[in-house]
Each structure stands twice: as C-alpha cells, then as structure tokens.
C-alpha cells in the first residue's frame, strides 16, 4: 500500500493512502480546513472530483482543492 504525504512548505500535511478522499473538517493532525479537500487517486479507474480527474490511465493524481 502506497502512502503519500502532502507537504506544502510545512503548512499543510496529511498522511493518506492511495484512493483516500479526505473531506472531514477541522482535523487537527493534518491541518486541513473545513473547506479543503485532499484527494489521492492512483488512476486505475476514471474518477472525477471537484475540477480534477484521473483522465490519464494509471497515473497518480494528488490534489488539495475546495
């Protein structure tokens, strides 16, 4: 299982598994705001989420958006 850590200059981080979509609000551990969504997809299936999509086959998509 692949684990990926988001890190944006230390301001935002989350330890997530491929396939996770974290839409919970106010998680103290990873500093997400209630409006933010973090998504990691491995691209094996077509998935779209809030403006992004795994159009390209078998390529990981990582996004923090709203």
């Amino acid at each position: 299982m692949l684990r990926v850590t988001f890190s944006m200059n230390g301001k935002l981080s989350a330890d997530m598994n491929t396939g996770d979509t974290d839409t919970q609000s106010g998680i103290a551990d990873n500093n997400f705001d209630s409006t933010e969504t973090a998504v990691i997809l491995d691209g094996t299936v077509l998935t779209t989420y809030k403006g992004v999509g795994t159009w390209l086959k078998n390529r990981e998509l990582l996004a923090v958006t709203q």
Binding site: L56, K57, V64
Partner: protein
C-alpha cells in the same frame, strides 16, 4: 539501492537552479514561479510527464488550471450526427469516458467532449462542428486559498494559468517516463 541524480532548471532559458549528482539516472525537473503569466511547456511527446502546482500559503482565493494538450489536430465533422471527432494515438493513454476540451488559439475552452472508444481506438468526440479548432486536450482545475495539484501529462504541450486571483504559484515539471 538505486542511485539517481536530480537536476532543476528554470523553464525559461533552462538556467540551472539546482543540481544533485549521485548516479547515472538523472531526473530533470523544470521550475517556474509566476503570478500573472501563463506558463507554457513544450514537451517530449514520447514520455509521460508530471506537473506539480503549489500555492502553499493561505491568502487570496485562486483558481489555477492545467491544460494537457495537443496542437495541430484536424477534426472530422460528421454532419449527420453533428459531431466533430479528433483521432490521435496518444488518446489511448487516457480512460474512455474522460472529459476532453477543444481550445482556441488563446487556450480558451470552446467545447467540452468525451473520449470514446471507437473501433478499438480512443477518439475525442464533441457535439457540433468545430471546423477551425485544432487544439484538443484535458483540463484540471484547483481552487482555494492555498492549493496543490500533481497530475500526469500525456500529450505534447502543457499550459498552466491562473484563472482567477493574483497569487504567486510554483510550477514544477518532471519527466515521469512510461509505465
């Protein structure tokens, strides 16, 4: 344990920004920081690439788009069905059902279509006649008061642009290679 080297260059002029040399496998990365200009990357179409967009600090809300495109395509207009279809071997790298876009010369979306599997080949299919449109590709968009995006780029050119907001954003382009 494999050894790799990392080379980071400014995308404009390819000035060397950072170089770490510790092996025979070199990973080239191209970096550009912008706040009001589109970042356009011509790329090696034989490889699959990756782009990373980063606005790390909280601030004004921004929307940034990434266009994964191919230029100089010719659409075939089926007058009976009133659809325009674009064919290219690179479309096989994409999932059937993916949302594709047709763009004008300013990289603005003029139509949205779908990748369809037709006779064992993926084609980009749009409703209506797009006789003058020669740029087709895929669009990703992230929005927020800070954003992060890392996605694969499979066509021959990439455009990164801030659709709304005036934030400074980092663009990192990596040659990811084929699976």
């Amino acid at each position: 344990m494999s050894e790799v080297s990392l080379k980071v260059q400014d995308v404009e002029g390819y000035r060397n920004l950072f170089d770490f040399n510790d092996g025979t496998c070199v990973i080239p990365a191209y970096l550009r920081v912008s706040h009001n200009h589109a970042v356009v990357f011509p790329m090696n179409s034989t490889k699959t690439n990756r782009v990373i967009i980063n606005v790390p600090e909280k601030g004004e809300e921004t929307t940034i788009e990434v266009l994964d495109i191919k230029t100089n395509l010719t659409g075939v207009h089926d007058i009976g069905a009133d659809t325009t279809t674009y064919s290219d071997a690179l479309f096989m790298k994409y999932h059937a059902g993916s949302e594709c876009v047709a763009l004008d010369s300013n990289y603005l979306v003029v139509a949205t279509g779908k990748i369809e599997l037709v006779s064992a080949a993926n084609k980009a299919v749009f409703n209506g006649g797009l006789d003058t449109t020669t740029i087709v590709g895929f669009r990703q968009e992230v929005t927020g008061d800070r954003v992060l995006l890392s996605c694969g780029i499979g066509l021959t050119n990439m455009v990164v642009r801030q659709v709304s907001g005036t934030r400074e954003y980092e663009v990192i382009h990596l040659e990811e290679g084929d699976l």
